[in-house]
Amino acid sequence: MTDVSQDRAIVPPSRGPAVEVVNVSRWYGNVVAVNDVSFSLDPGITGLLGPNGAGKSTILHIAAGLLRPSKGTVRIGGRPVWGNQAIYWDVGLVPDKETIYPFLTGYQFVLLSAKLYGLDDPAEAAHRAIQAVDMEGAQDRRVGGYSKGMKQRVKVAAAIVHEPRILLLDEPFNGTDPAHRLQLMDFLRRMAGEGRTIVFSSHILDEVERLAENVLVIVAGRLAASGDFHAIRRLMTDRPHTFTIRSSHDRRLAIALVADQSVLSVDLSDERLTVRTSQFSDFVRAAPRIARNEGITLQELVPTDESLESVFSYLVRR
């Protein structure tokens, strides 16, 4: 029988950025799932943001060594990931899928993880990890009977039981209730505060905004934007927006609006006034003021196509 703990001693100390993805592509036949993506990550929280099917999970799976890149390389702590089981000393993965054994209790599941990591005191490590995700109350119940949120938390406990330097989480807030979502966010912030590298994927802008300092926006397998969240948020907000307007006198209002700095174009057709602007906030403030000055009653001011997908598509086109 192999004693896993013996292998730990021969793992060389890691060097370089915590996570380094260099020109990585992945395709399945003719379908390109990830297209020439490069980034490097240091300690802190990074959000992998993108619509469903964008390739976020594929990127996380490649980073976790579960998928071989068709092109490019991924290194963790300077070591190549693919085919290198030793990286899992440094990495914890929380997959989106239900990777749990329903016949085990929560404690047994986390203990199993601790034993597979070959920890010196797996029982103590399991208790500590369960405590960290606030699951002591349910630790003796079978995982198969857990709610989705509880399963998510016990998966996190299993992934952090060896206190990894890097934690990869695929849609970690799926199914969690608001209280536990906040708790999990606090927990991840604490882990990041200890100098760990946290990467999580999400298709929900709000989650990323609340948690991530650094953002990678993935659209259709490509890295559409990366960097500081607030800069990207501004980019998203300041993109051309389209509004439809109904008023007591659309034609007069169109003439007045086109003179405003915030307006790019106006279109008056089919009894409907459509305005394009590149300055979302300025226009939202200016439109009612201009209408009032002209003595026009503004009945409706509706932004069109505000879906996250359209925001992401805009970022890709830039």
Binding site: V91, S113, L116
Partner: protein, 244 residues
């Protein structure tokens, strides 16, 4: 071999409905032997060898038991998504395959070997056995090792391991190797019969093995080792492709 994966796999087997099928498979030859004994049991060695041990145990019970356990040891983990849990641990993949193989062969042997020995003894009770039961029990052990290795390889090579395994058992082992004697070198069933022949000294009329005993022993061992090496290689390159 990793002891934690070994223990986990045993627990997985215990919790599966497939273990019920295993009980049925193990009890079938024993029940058949009892029914045979209740009737006019003429020519016991011939019936025991050709109908019970060759026809039922080696051709059906043995490969099906190994198919169920060998394909579910890793296949069910891949199917249910828990493979990610194992794959993202610093456990060498050869150790995972080793543990899965050890657990599967242990459980298969626990069901198949007693079923072979007990059913054979019941059927031959009072008649000269001439090593038949010993021979087929040893052959079943080698069969368990070879078949389990083959089915573990199948489960890491394809997501339809059970389907391909059934085809292999019933078409290749049950039909093709019976019709074409040249295929005996590629048949675990023929290896089993050859090994049983080493220990069972019955007349050729009762028992006709296409392979010599030593030849069968070497081939069974080589196939077990080669398929395990291939399974390890395949598992080392295994990818989780079910992502968005």
């Amino acid at each position: 071999m990793n002891s934690t994966v070994f223990a986990l796999t045993l627990r997985q087997f215990a919790g599966q409905r497939r273990s019920l099928v295993m009980f049925v498979l193990a009890l079938a030859p024993i029940a058949l032997a009892i029914v045979y004994r209740l009737g006019d049991h003429l020519d016991q060695p011939d019936w025991t060898v050709n109908v019970l041990l060759n026809g039922i145990v080696v051709t059906t019970v043995l490969p099906l038991a190994c198919l169920i356990l060998g394909t579910s040891a890793i296949g069910s983990e891949i199917e249910e998504g828990t493979a990610i849990f194992i794959l993202t641990k610093p456990v060498p993949r050869r150790d995972t395959i080793g543990a899965k193989f050890a657990a599967s062969t242990l459980v298969a042997a626990l069901f198949v070997l007693p079923a072979t020995a007990v059913s054979g003894l019941i059927a031959l009770w009072g008649a000269p056995g001439e090593g038949i039961v010993t021979g087929f029990t040893i052959a079943a052990l080698f069969g368990v090792l070879a078949y389990t290795a083959v089915f573990i390889l199948l489960s890491v090579a394809t997501s339809r391991a059970l389907l391909f395994g059934l085809g292999y058992v019933f078409i290749w082992e049950g039909l093709v190797t019976e019709l074409f004697s040249g295929t005996r070198y590629l048949s675990v069933r023929q290896y089993c019969l050859g090994i049983a022949d080493l220990f069972a000294t019955v007349s050729e009329r009762d028992f006709d093995a296409n392979l010599g005993g030593p030849e069968a022993l070497i081939l069974a061992s080589a196939v077990t080792a080669a398929t395990l090496v291939l399974a390890v290689r395949r598992f080392e390159a295994f990818e989780i492709t079910d992502t968005d």
